[in-house]
């Protein structure tokens, strides 16, 4: 395998692995469910894209022609990740999970749960 291909594969694999690790680390580290939602939906999407990019370059080299079928998984995950995050957020709202105390605008949780229009601020 030529050196430049190896370097491309190694760099994208390392970036992918680092972002996947950061995404899972955020899952452990962040204090409440609404904040935890952010780390897998974003960091893991980029992480998986890095690994898929490496796989794409490697398979193209292996087969001898441009193999872009790994893009299917990337595309699929890019479309489904926000939907899954939205459904988990809905579930958390439905179960009346308490957010962190310092969260701003906590009164919106009840209205969001019942899918109501937010009440105007009362002074």
């Amino acid at each position: 395998m030529p050196l430049y291909l190896e370097i491309i594969i190694c760099v994208s694999l390392l970036i992918g692995g680092a972002f996947l690790l950061v995404g899972s680390y955020g899952l452990i580290r962040l204090p409440d469910i609404y904040m935890r939602l952010h780390s897998p939906t974003k960091a893991s999407t980029l992480g998986i894209t890095g690994v898929l990019l490496a796989s794409m370059v490697f398979q193209s080299h292996l087969k001898g022609f441009l193999s872009i079928q790994e893009l299917l998984i990337t595309l699929f995950l890019l479309i489904t990740a926000p939907v899954a995050a939205n459904m988990i957020a809905k579930t958390a709202l439905h179960q009346r999970t308490k957010p962190l105390d310092k969260t701003k605008n906590q009164e919106l949780i009840e209205t969001a749960r019942d899918r109501e229009v937010p009440k105007p601020p009362q002074d």
Binding site: N86, T103, V117
Partner: protein, 161 residues
Amino acid sequence: MKLFPMPFHSLLLFVVWLLLNNSISAGHMVLAAFFAIAIPLLVNGMRDEHPKILKPWLAIRYVLMVMKDILTANVEVALLIVGPIKKLEPGFVAVPINISSDLGITVLASTVSLTPGTVSAEVSKDKAWLYIHALHLDNEAELIESIKQRYEKPIKEIFGC
């Protein structure tokens, strides 16, 4: 009867079939063309009305812009996660939206979820408010304004609703 009642879906089926088989041989081309014509004809009667993409070039530009935003969003969120979390100030925000079609709202909500520091949580019943959760909320009005300007306006133009 039109040969391609759903042109975008036909194209998608064609490309996905070729990608799944990872081949552009003549046989797979014919099979993909058959699926691209037959499946939309079969399912055309079952679907709900969706708004058409009125401005394809703007749609492509929008997708590229979102890709760029996803990249910056990922790095930004990764830095927030490994940085000091005591300083983070999470918060909920209700964003007024002005899109009438379900498809437009779905695209907007997905884009908001994929871009910096925000996850969309719920849509109000009258489809006029989008509830989002922000990982680090320092300026509420600015966030609402940026979502409306950066994402809602092009979506409204693309779908014309």
